[in-house]
Structure formats: structure tokens, C-alpha cells
């Protein structure tokens, strides 16, 4: 470099404006810019060309100082400038080009966005990504999940200001996800009150654990709640691909809401309590007693001659198709060898559904025939079905009102002035038999009234047997009824049938039988799961709980010591329905139901915990059932098993006392699973101790067997 390239003084340097939109075209092409450059509008402003002026016959240069001053050469003889500047096409400056490119980029971006956002409904181009497989069929229908999709751009702008949009969208989720129940938007799908109740219960326990520092700090940030509700998107975030996991949460996220917080399952997780035996099993079955007593001791071979000892747990329990549950084998496969004879119980005469009260012939003077029932009636009350059938008989109702408290075993002992009322009872019974004999099922329908729907579907029907009983006990009933209707005096029965000393039955094949010994019509279950008895008990427990204590059938089939004659004990107990099948009562609706199956087909109650047997059984041969299910040998001696306390009911006489005392409660006979036992496998080293492995968030979610 021998000399400076550029002069900076104003005389030797052009007036440069690089920030202007336009620059001189000649500068760009030849490096010969004019001194003024183009205008702001991009027009050439060539002004350096002078117009020589003629003075004294000679032309003189008139170029201004700003444009370089007078040139040495001066004008040509013809008066033209010797340095003619040609105008040029100004060019955009670099800055202007950049500005233009910026504008173009912004325009393209805005246009693209407007295309994507245009129209009444959002374009699929707007979608941030694919939804999961389960939602794939509604992916193209944005409005299925987004309330914003119902409108255009203006709606979206409006919705950005709306705090409830998340809950509105959650309502759309629940249109399909009805299995989550009505409280789905509340934490854990339970009501606020229930959540407070559970929280209080947890807080009352004394177990403490140190809260991780992250949770302590996170608690300062608060929770995203809206009116006590949680939007679905709080936990489930869509558009992350077909294979995304919508339910994935970390342990810290789960615990951030919880009253009791801890580091991990291995460190600080509360004890499992009575899990999985916090409730009694649906089928009363004491594993410990069965395996360690009945199948071991010789004494029980006498009462269970066909009983066979299971070889292992899998003899009775096999997993379902998913491996989640261990199902109990059928009655025929697992229980029948011991309990079928008890159910068949040849000494059990059946349950009385109809019985003639004890009325002495002296009380029936001029009132027609009445068998000699003296000393035959076994109970103080009429069978429940009879009560129902006589409920709308005005004569009967008037009579029992007049008699007051009635003991149907002692109607013979009434005062003479009450004889007419006793006779009216007899006529009511005869009318009942007559109606059923002549009108059959129609008579039942009419007499049962509002109860008819409940009891009429019970099969086999009692009608044929009652008609036959009428033929046997009251062969002239039609004539007697006619005369009685015409208020004619009737002679007492000329044939006083004596009660046979023994027990005799007729038509026993259908389950129904007529007993001439005590003038009853009885039903005897024809085997396990007898449909009539099941149906009767279901109706009784669901619809007529208040009268259960008056229902001899209920009492017999739920009383471990009752056999119909109320004098059987011990092993016969397991031949009665409700000795094995428990009753559950819904605390909210108050409706009870009998658990005919060991496991519910659908989980309608709160289910905070889930467990699948399959992975545990597949974990290797080292794992077997006894690793986790350890027998509880306490309270299994025979005295404890058979003591009457074992069968104590609650106040409603419906339900067994539960878990108050292991010696009295009917349990599976296993010790609760211990957390330490689980943590041998589920620990930090194996990284299998996530909350979601064992806990459901949606406690009321109905699970299907496929899940």
C-alpha cells in the first residue's frame, strides 16, 4: 500500500448515503458515481453536466464547485460539455435489498399462516402432530376435541382470553370417555368431599417421611386447578405421535398434590396396610383352614368323603386372558367335591313357601273343612310369600288386626270371641288356594300387586304344586267357597285328616314338594346355583331389606346353623348360599347385592390400586404364590373357627363384621402383603417403582377384562 485509497474530506469525497434505499448505478457498474446520487424515489439526479455559457464568443464551463468545479478542458467549440455525465439506472442499496427481503419473508410467513388459519375450521396443517393410535379415527375432526375448532380466527382470539376453555374441551373428552364417571374432572375422579375424607384419613395416620426437596420447592408454585376441577389436558397431552403415552407421569408429579410425600416406594412409601385383603373376599373362603385343616385332618373325610386336596394354588386359580387377575375356578371344579353333598343335603326338607296355620276344628264350626293341623306348624309367622299374597286380602288384614300379635303355632289358644277372626284367616288361606287353583299365574299377579314383577319370574312356578295341595287338603274347596260367598252355613269337615307322624313329599322332582306332615309347600334347591333360590335372595336383599328378618328363606340360606328345621349345625353350614356368597351394600345408593361371583366383572367402586399377576408369575421360577401370599395361622384352631362369634352380623343382620378382629372376620386366611416384600424387587436398582405401576389415577374408571 503506497498511498491511501480514500479521501475523507468533503471536497474530495462524494456525498455517500449507504443507508439510503437507492445508490448510483454507475457506482455499481463502473465505480464512477455521480456526486449527488439518486433521489429517495430512485431517480437519477445527474446534475454535474454543466451547460457551458457563451461569453464573448467563447464557451465557458459552468460546473459548480460541488460538482468538481470548472474542468480544465472546458467546453467543446460547439458549446457542449467535455465531460458529459450520462444518467444511470439507480440500484437498490444493500440495506434496501435486505429490507425488501425482510418484508418478503414476513409476507410469505403471514400468507402461509393465513392460509393455515383461514376458513371456518382449522386446517390439518395447523395440527402440531399426530395423535395417539386410539384417537386416530377422530384426528381429522378437530372439533371432536377442541371447542376452538367450532369457529374461525376471531373465535380463537376470543378463546385465548377464556380461562374455562380447558374445561370446555375436557367436556368433549368425556363425551367418549364415559367410563370415567360423573366426577371425572375432579382429582382422582372422586368428589371433593370424598377427597377431603380420604385426605383426612391419611393425615390421621402417624407415618411420616421426609419430603423431597424438589417437591418442597414445587409446592411454592401452586396447582393448575379451575373451580376445584382438573382439565384432562393437565395430565394427558396429545399430538405427540401415534405411540405417545398419554398417561405417563413422574412420581414427583403424582405426589405434588398429595398430603404425604416421600422419596420413593423403597424409601418412605407408606405401609400397604391390609392390602390386598382390606376388604373381605366376595366368596367366604378361608385358605388357611382349608389347606391346613380340612385337607389335612382325617376327621373331615367323614363329612367330605369325595373331597380332594388341591396340589397347588393353580389347581383352583388360573390367570385371566390378560394375566391381571387370578380367577377362581368354577364351583364344579373346585368346591363341588366337598360342598355339593352339603347343598343336596338329603335331610333338608326344603324351605316352606306355603303353610296351613294351626287351627282347631272347634274354631271352624259352620265354616267348612280344615285339616287337622294341630301341632304341625313350625314357625310363628306365615312364609313370606304367603304374607305377600295375603297382603291385599281385606278379610285377612281385618282378622290379623283384630288378633294383634299372632303366633301361627298357637291360634288354637285364642279367646272364644276371637274365633271368628281365626276363621277369617282360614277363609283367607282357602280363598288364596282357590284363586291360585282356578286362575293360576293371573291370581299371583293380581295378589302380588306391585311386588308381582319381582317374584313372578321365579321359576319353577309354585302354582302347579299349590293347585295339587288344594286338591289334597281341600277337595271340596270350590263348593265351600261358593256357599261361603252366598253366606250359607257350612258343616265342619266330615273327614278330619290326621297329621302323619312322618315326613312325606310329593312332586319333589321340580324342587317343589307338598308335605302332608306339616301341611306345607316347600322348595328344596335342586343343586348349586339354584335359580329360584338365587332369584328370591336377590329380590329380597335388593328390594325388601326391611323384612329380611321375617323371611324364613333368607334366614335359612344366610344362617350358617339353619337347615330349614333350625336344628342342624356344623358342616351343613357351607351348604347354604350366604355362607359362601357375601353381601355388599353400596354406601351411596344403599342398594345391596349378593356376590355370586368371586370377582366383579366391572369395578364400580373406588380402585386406587391395580395389580397384575402375570408379570410376577413370569418373573421366574423363583416366584410362586406363597412368596407373597403368606398364610396367617393365627386364629385358625377349630374352636376359633367354629365359635359363634365367627358369624356375627352387623346391625342390619345383612353383613359380616369386617376386619375388626381377624379372629372374627371372614378373610382369605393370608397375611397382608408387606411393602418390604415388594421392595425386594421394586427398588431403585430395578427402576420399577413408579407410582403408576400400582396406582390408578381414575379411581372410578371401569376396567374391562381386556385391560
Amino acid at each position: 500500500m503506497t498511498e491511501p485509497l480514500q479521501p475523507f474530506d468533503w471536497k474530495n469525497s462524494n456525498y455517500e448515503r449507504p443507508a439510503n434505499t437507492w445508490v448510483c448505478g454507475r457506482l455499481c457498474e463502473k465505480g464512477l458515481p455521480c456526486r449527488l446520487g439518486p433521489s429517495n424515489k430512485g431517480e437519477c439526479q445527474v446534475q454535474s453536466q454543466c451547460e457551458p455559457a457563451e461569453k464573448g464568443g467563447k464557451y465557458q464551463c459552468t460546473r459548480s464547485v460541488l460538482n468538481g468545479g470548472k474542468c480544465k478542458e472546458g467546453p467543446a467549440p460547439d458549446g457542449t460539455c467535455c465531460q458529459p455525465d450520462t444518467s444511470c439506472q439507480p440500484r437498490r442499496s444493500l440495506l434496501a435489498k435486505r429490507r425488501f427481503l425482510g418484508g418478503l419473508a414476513a409476507f410469505i410467513a403471514a400468507s402461509l399462516c393465513l392460509i393455515v388459519f383461514s376458513g371456518d375450521s382449522p386446517s390439518s396443517l395447523l395440527s402440531p402432530g399426530e395423535v395417539i393410535d386410539a384417537h386416530a379415527n377422530i384426528e381429522s375432526n378437530c372439533s371432536a376435541c377442541h371447542s376452538a375448532a367450532e369457529g374461525g380466527l376471531d373465535t380463537w382470539i376470543h378463546l385465548t382470553m377464556n380461562d374455562d376453555v380447558a374445561l370446555d374441551d375436557s367436556a368433549l373428552c368425556l363425551k367418549c370417555h364415559t367410563e370415567l364417571g360423573e366426577e371425572a374432572l375432579f382429582a382422582h375422579s372422586v368428589s371433593v368431599e370424598r377427597l377431603h375424607e380420604i385426605t383426612s384419613q391419611i393425615q390421621e395416620t402417624k407415618e411420616t417421611a421426609s419430603t423431597p426437596i424438589a417437591l418442597q420447592l414445587a409446592s411454592l408454585t401452586g396447582h393448575p386447578t379451575t373451580n376445584g376441577k382438573l382439565a384432562c389436558s393437565t395430565c394427558h397431552q396429545e399430538h405427540h405421535g401415534r405411540k405417545a403415552n398419554l398417561t405417563q407421569l413422574t412420581d414427583l408429579q403424582c405426589q405434588s398434590c398429595h398430603a404425604r410425600q416421600f422419596a420413593s416406594f423403597q424409601h418412605g412409601h407408606p405401609a400397604l396396610g391390609d392390602y390386598p385383603y382390606e376388604r373381605r373376599s366376595r366368596i367366604y373362603f378361608d385358605h388357611n383352614t382349608h389347606l391346613n385343616r380340612y385337607f389335612k385332618n382325617e376327621e373331615f373325610k367323614r363329612t367330605m368323603p369325595h373331597g380332594h386336596k388341591p396340589e397347588s394354588c393353580s389347581s383352583c386359580h388360573t390367570s385371566d386372558a390378560t394375566g391381571r387377575l387370578m380367577l377362581t375356578g368354577s364351583f364344579e371344579k373346585t368346591c363341588a367335591s366337598c360342598h355339593e353333598p352339603q347343598i343336596e343335603d338329603v335331610d333338608f326338607p326344603g324351605v316352606p313357601f306355603f303353610a296351613l296355620p294351626v287351627i282347631a276344628p272347634t274354631l271352624m264350626k259352620s265354616q267348612g273343612a280344615w285339616p287337622n293341623t294341630e301341632g304341625s306348624f313350625a314357625t310363628a309367622r306365615l312364609p313370606r310369600l304367603m304374607e305377600l299374597l295375603l297382603e291385599n286380602d281385606p278379610g285377612y288384614q281385618s282378622a290379623i288386626k283384630q288378633l294383634g300379635a299372632i303366633d301361627y303355632r298357637k291360634l288354637n289358644n285364642v279367646d272364644p270371641e276371637q274365633a271368628a277372626a281365626v276363621a277369617e284367616i282360614a277363609w283367607a288361606v282357602k280363598r288364596l288356594l282357590y284363586d291360585i287353583s282356578t286362575s293360576g299365574e293371573a291370581a299371583l299377579t293380581e295378589r302380588l300387586g306391585k311386588n308381582s314383577a319381582l317374584y313372578l319370574h321365579l321359576k319353577p312356578s309354585i302354582v302347579p304344586t299349590l293347585s295339587q295341595a288344594q286338591q289334597i287338603w281341600f277337595p271340596n274347596l270350590a263348593a265351600e267357597i261358593k256357599d261361603h260367598t252366598e253366606k250359607k252355613a257350612l258343616p265342619a269337615s266330615t273327614r278330619q285328616k290326621q297329621a302323619p307322624s312322618g315326613f312325606s313329599t310329593r312332586n319333589a322332582n321340580s324342587g317343589w314338594s307338598i308335605s302332608d306332615s306339616d301341611f306345607t309347600v316347600r322348595y328344596r334347591p335342586i343343586g348349586h346355583a339354584d335359580p329360584l333360590i338365587k332369584g328370591w335372595l336377590d329380590q329380597a336383599v335388593q328390594k325388601d331389606q326391611k323384612n329380611l328378618d321375617r323371611d324364613s328363606l333368607w334366614q335359612i340360606f344366610s344362617n350358617p346353623t339353619a337347615s330349614g328345621t333350625e336344628d342342624s349345625h356344623g358342616a351343613l353350614a357351607s351348604g347354604r348360599c350366604l355362607m359362601c356368597h357375601s353381601v355388599d351394600k353400596d354406601p351411596v345408593s344403599g342398594v345391596s347385592h349378593i356376590n355370586w361371583q368371586p370377582l366383579p366383572t366391572q369395578q364400580a367402586k373406588e380402585q386406587f390400586t391395580q395389580f397384575s399377576h402375570a408379570p410376577h408369575l413370569l418373573a421366574g421360577q423363583r416366584l410362586n404364590c406363597e412368596n407373597c401370599h403368606v398364610f396367617d395361622r393365627s386364629g385358625t384352631d377349630s374352636a376359633a373357627i367354629l365359635q359363634s362369634d365367627y358369624f356375627v352380623r352387623d346391625r342390619s343382620n345383612l353383613f359380616w363384621q369386617i376386619n375388626q378382629n381377624s379372629r372374627q372376620a371372614c378373610t382369605s386366611g393370608f397375611q397382608p402383603i408387606s411393602r418390604q416384600n415388594c421392595s425386594t424387587c421394586h427398588n431403585q436398582a430395578t427402576a420399577t417403582q413408579s407410582c403408576l405401576q400400582c396406582h390408578n389415577y381414575h379411581a372410578h374408571r371401569k376396567l374391562t377384562s381386556s385391560e
Binding site: 491511501p4 485509497l5 480514500q6 455517500e16 449507504p18 445508490v23 457506482l27 455499481c28 463502473k30 464512477l32 435489498k97 435486505r98 427481503l101 425482510g102 418484508g103 419473508a105 414476513a106 410469505i108 410467513a109 402461509l112 399462516c113 393455515v116 388459519f117 396443517l125 395447523l126 395440527s127 402440531p128 402432530g129 399426530e130 378437530c142 377442541h146 376452538a148 380466527l153 380463537w156 382470539i157 385465548t160 376453555v165 380447558a166 370446555d168 374441551d169 375436557s170 373428552c173 424438589a214 414445587a218 408454585t221 401452586g222 396447582h223 393448575p224 382439565a231 384432562c232 389436558s233 393437565t234 394427558h236 396429545e238 399430538h239 405421535g241 413422574t250 414427583l252 408429579q253 405434588s256
Partner: protein, 269 residues
């Protein structure tokens, strides 16, 4: 020292943002909204640097300070962007375009930072600093000077060796910017080759022509230095053609994305 403080500050702020988002995520708060809002604010601030240049008459701090802050926020925005996108490539078209635009702008910014840190040193190492817009003028002057030395200053008795040499080897060199790749690669091979040709030509010239050839050689060096200045200044100016226009696109995409997120993200998260 200042760099260390800046780096420490950057680390602390990044960790605070990360920790804040992490803690919010624990409570199932929508961290995407928080990180998205921070990111949008960062983008607006970064874009305002361009505005700052326009309103330089206002006392808003020195341009150098703004640039330092621009770089600081730029890198910080990348941290927030990484948190916002969870370092995943989005599936949706609009979000993918947004993702791509951000990365282009960010990387062009990083490239620009690298250029602005290295090129000035390289410019100082060769030739005189000239204004980029004046380079054509200087090039023209050099060319005119060479042509004068070759043609106008020649004596009638001198042969056509020098003009031939000019037409053969120099004319193209002086007509415009040349050897740009070599300059970028910091190579002087082309200049060395040209000097070798001059040396080879010298024995065939008389004394006067040799003097003129030496003067031409000086102009060659001057022109080469000018080309060097031209290409590096052009690079510094051209990277802005990527960085600035895409920033405008980025802001528009970001606003649309924010609108869609607020209206629709209650379900998608």
C-alpha cells in the same frame, strides 16, 4: 473478566429458567406456556436491536452494549427454546416450519457472531480499511492507474510487451473482484503466481518498462488487498440477509403459534 461474569450470569439465568420450568412441571402446570412466553419476549427483544439502530438519536444505551445484550439474550433464547421443544423435532407442519426458522435464525446469529469476532482481525491484517460502498470507486481508480501505466506512459519506441502482458494477465484481474475463495481461505497463491509472471516478464523489458512494471505490481497488491477487504466485508453484510429477514418470519410464525396454542392447547398441552 467481563466474559467470565457474562458466562456465569448466563449459566445462572439458564439454570433458574430450567429449574422454574421443572418445578412448574412437577405441579402439572403448563410449562410450555411459561417457556413460550419467555421465548416470545426474547424474540421481541432480539428483534428490537434492529429498531434500536433506527432510533439511534434516543439515549437508549450504546450500540455496543445493545449488541452484547443481543448476543446474551440470543443464546438464552436457545436454552428456553430447547426447554420449550424438549429438544424434539415437532411433527406438525406449522410448528416444524417455526422450529426450522428459529434454528436458522439462531445459527445464522451464531455464524454472524463468529464472523464479527474474526473478520475484523483479518481485515486489519491486510490493506487499508475501506468503506464497502467505496470499493468499486477504488477498484476503478486502481484500474485507471494501471491502464495509464501500461498505455499512456509508454514511449513510442517501446514495444508491445507490456500491453500484451496486461491484456493477457492483468486486464481480467483489474476489472472486478477476483480470487474470492482464495481470500476466504486466506491463500495468496494467486498473488504469488501473478508476481512470478511479472518476474518472468521483467528480463524482456527495458529499464523504463521495468519501473512501470514495478508500479503495476504495486497496484496489483493494492487491488488484491481491496478484493480481500471486499469479500470479507461482503460476507459480514450478506449473513444479515439470512438473519434479519428470517427474524421477521420467525416473529410472525411465533405470534400465530402462540395464538393457536392459547386457543387449542387446552387439549394438546
Amino acid at each position: 473478566m467481563q466474559q467470565r461474569i457474562t458466562f456465569l450470569l448466563f449459566t445462572v439465568i439458564s439454570l433458574l429458567i430450567f429449574a422454574g420450568c421443572y418445578l412448574f412441571s412437577i405441579t402439572l402446570s403448563k410449562t410450555s406456556f411459561a417457556s413460550g412466553t419467555i421465548l416470545l419476549l426474547c424474540l421481541l427483544f432480539l428483534a428490537s436491536y434492529q429498531l434500536r439502530k433506527k432510533i439511534s438519536f434516543l439515549p437508549l444505551g450504546s450500540s455496543a452494549a445493545w449488541l452484547r445484550f443481543h448476543i446474551f439474550i440470543g443464546f438464552l433464547s436457545f436454552v428456553v427454546f430447547a426447554i420449550h421443544t424438549r429438544l424434539q423435532i415437532p411433527n406438525g407442519l406449522l410448528e416444524f416450519i417455526l422450529f426450522l426458522t428459529y434454528y436458522t435464525v439462531f445459527l445464522s446469529g451464531v455464524v454472524g457472531l463468529f464472523l464479527s469476532r474474526t473478520i475484523p482481525y483479518r481485515l486489519l491484517s491486510r490493506g487499508e480499511e475501506v468503506l464497502f460502498e467505496r470499493i468499486p470507486v477504488h477498484r476503478r481508480k486502481i484500474h485507471d492507474r494501471v491502464k495509464t501505466l501500461v498505455f499512456d506512459d509508454a514511449q513510442p519506441e517501446q514495444g508491445a510487451a507490456l500491453p500484451d502482458f496486461y491484456h493477457k494477465h492483468l486486464q481480467d484481474f483489474f476489472e472486478g473482484p477476483r480470487h474470492q475463495i482464495s481470500h476466504i481461505l486466506h491463500s495468496k497463491r494467486h498473488l504469488h503466481q501473478l508476481k512470478q509472471k511479472i518476474s518472468a516478464q521483467e528480463p524482456f523489458l527495458d529499464e523504463q518498462e521495468q519501473v512501470r512494471l514495478q508500479q503495476i505490481a504495486e497496484q496489483i497488491q493494492l487491488k488484491d488487498d481491496l478484493d480481500y477487504q471486499y469479500i470479507f466485508q461482503a460476507i459480514i453484510k450478506l449473513w444479515l440477509f439470512v438473519h434479519v429477514p428470517l427474524t421477521y418470519s420467525l416473529i410472525i410464525f411465533a405470534f400465530y403459534h402462540a395464538l393457536a396454542a392459547c386457543a387449542f392447547a387446552s387439549t394438546s398441552g
